[in-house]
C-alpha cells in the first residue's frame, strides 16, 4: 500500500506542473520576427528553445513550433535583437537556424 501511495503522489505532483507559457499578445509589443528552425521533433522541444530565446534582452515573447519548424518572437518596442543573438539561442538549444522568414 505504501509504495503505491508514494508512486501515485509522485506522479500526481509531476502531472500537476504547468506546461510552456503562451506568448503574450500585449498590444505595446513591437515587431514579430520569425525563423525557420530545424531539429525539433516533438512538442517537448518547444520549451527549451523558448526559454533560451526569452533570455535575450528585448525579447518579449517566444513561441516555437515543431510542426511548422518555426520560431516566432516578439521584440519589445524600441528594443534591438540581432539575428546572431537568435541564432546563438537556437544553437544552444541544439537546433539549427534556417532562413529568417519575417
Amino acid at each position: 500500500m505504501r509504495p503505491t501511495l508514494i508512486a501515485i503522489t509522485c506522479l500526481a505532483l509531476l502531472a500537476g506542473c504547468s506546461s510552456a507559457p503562451e506568448p503574450s499578445s500585449d498590444p505595446q509589443v513591437g515587431a514579430l520576427v520569425e525563423f525557420e528552425v530545424f531539429g525539433m521533433d516533438c512538442p517537448g522541444c518547444h520549451g527549451g528553445l523558448e526559454n533560451l530565446v526569452l533570455e535575450i534582452p528585448g525579447v518579449h515573447s517566444a513561441k516555437a513550433s515543431w510542426v511548422d519548424k518555426k520560431l516566432a518572437l516578439r521584440v519589445e518596442e524600441g528594443a534591438e535583437v540581432t539575428d546572431e543573438q537568435v541564432h546563438d539561442a537556437i544553437n544552444r538549444a541544439n537546433f539549427t537556424a534556417g532562413e529568417r522568414l519575417k
Partner: protein, 284 residues
C-alpha cells in the same frame, strides 16, 4: 508561481537523492541527442516486474516494484549531466515463505556528451557517448555493495515525425569494493532500439501522441570466483515492449509493457516475466 508549484517535486527528488535520462522517442531507452543548455528534465516511473522459477522446478518467485527518480540537466549544449535514484520494493517467495525488502538502490550519476548533431529540413541525426558510475549507497539488502561503471554509445535519427534511438551499452560490474566473500559480478552488454511516430494532437502543435516500440537484448556474463564461472549465474534476454507516450507542452506521460521473447539463464535461475511501466517526465 510556477517555481512554487514545482517546489514540492524538486524537494521530493532532491531529498531522496537524484537520478537520470533525457529526451528520447523511447520510454526506457535513452537518445543520442542532448537537451538544450539550461534545460532540466525530471522523470519518475513506476515499474512492476517479476521473476519466477521455471515450471516443474522450485516453488520460487520475486515481485519487484521500482520507482526511479531521475534528474537531468543540460549544462552545455554538448554536455548533459544526470543522476538517478531508485526506490525498490522486493518480495521473494520460496517454498511458501515470503521475504520482503525495501529501500533505496545505489545512486547512479552519468554524463552524456554530444559528438554529432545534424539538423536539416528533412532529418536530424545525433550521436552521443555516455559514461556513468553507480555507487554502493543503497539500503542494506538492496544495494549491490560494489561500484559499477556504465559506458554507452547512443545514436538517434528523426524524420517526418518518425524517430529511432539505438543504444549500445556495456556495464563493468563490480569495478571496486566487491565484498571479499562474493564472486566478481558478470559484466553486461546491451543493445536497444526504440522506434516511435509522433502524431500531433489538435491544431496548436502543443500536444502529440506517439506509439512506441522498444526492442532490447541484454547479455549478462556469469559471475566469477578465482577466475572460474560460478554456476547459476549469467543470462541472455531478448524483449519487446510496445508502449505509448503523450506529450503536452513540457509534460510527458508514458506507459509500456515489456515481455520476454526469448531468454536463456545459465543453470538453475528464475525466469524474467513481464514488466509494466507508467511514467511521467517534466521539463523546464
Amino acid at each position: 508561481m510556477k517555481m512554487f508549484a514545482f517546489l514540492p517535486v524538486l524537494l521530493f527528488v532532491l531529498v531522496l537523492g537524484p537520478a537520470a535520462e533525457s529526451l528520447a522517442v523511447g520510454i526506457s531507452i535513452d537518445a543520442g541527442l542532448t537537451p538544450p543548455q539550461g534545460r532540466w528534465i525530471l522523470r519518475t516511473q513506476v515499474r512492476s516486474m517479476s521473476r519466477t522459477a521455471p515450471e516443474g522446478t522450485a516453488d520460487a518467485g520475486m515481485d519487484r516494484l521500482m520507482v526511479p527518480l531521475v534528474v537531468v540537466y543540460g549544462l552545455r549544449p554538448q554536455l548533459t549531466l544526470g543522476v538517478r535514484q531508485i526506490i525498490d520494493w522486493r518480495t521473494m517467495t520460496m517454498m511458501g515463505n515470503e521475504n520482503k525488502q525495501s529501500g533505496f538502490s545505489d545512486i547512479y550519476v552519468f554524463a552524456k556528451y554530444k559528438i554529432l548533431r545534424i539538423n536539416t529540413r528533412s532529418y536530424t541525426l545525433g550521436i552521443a557517448p555516455l559514461l556513468g558510475v553507480e555507487a554502493p549507497t543503497g539500503s542494506s539488502g538492496i544495494s549491490n555493495e560494489f561500484w559499477s561503471i556504465n559506458t554507452g554509445l547512443y545514436f538517434s535519427g528523426r524524420s517526418g515525425g518518425w524517430g529511432a534511438d539505438l543504444t549500445l551499452g556495456y556495464r563493468f560490474s563490480g569495478v571496486a569494493d566487491v565484498p571479499a566473500d562474493d564472486p566478481d559480478p558478470g559484466n553486461e552488454l546491451g543493445l536497444n532500439l526504440a522506434l516511435a511516430k509522433q502524431i500531433p494532437v489538435g491544431k496548436s502543435g502543443r500536444s502529440a501522441l506517439a506509439p512506441v516500440l522498444e526492442i532490447s537484448w541484454k547479455n549478462t556474463a556469469s559471475d566469477k570466483a578465482a577466475g572460474i564461472e560460478t554456476p547459476n549465474s549469467g543470462e541472455s534476454v531478448f524483449t519487446l515492449a510496445p508502449g505509448v507516450k503523450y506529450t503536452r507542452g513540457d509534460l510527458i506521460i508514458e506507459g509500456l509493457v515489456r515481455f520476454p521473447v526469448s531468454q536463456d539463464q545459465k543453470g538453475m535461475q528464475m525466469e524474467i516475466g513481464n514488466m509494466y511501466l507508467l511514467g511521467v517526465r517534466h521539463m523546464f
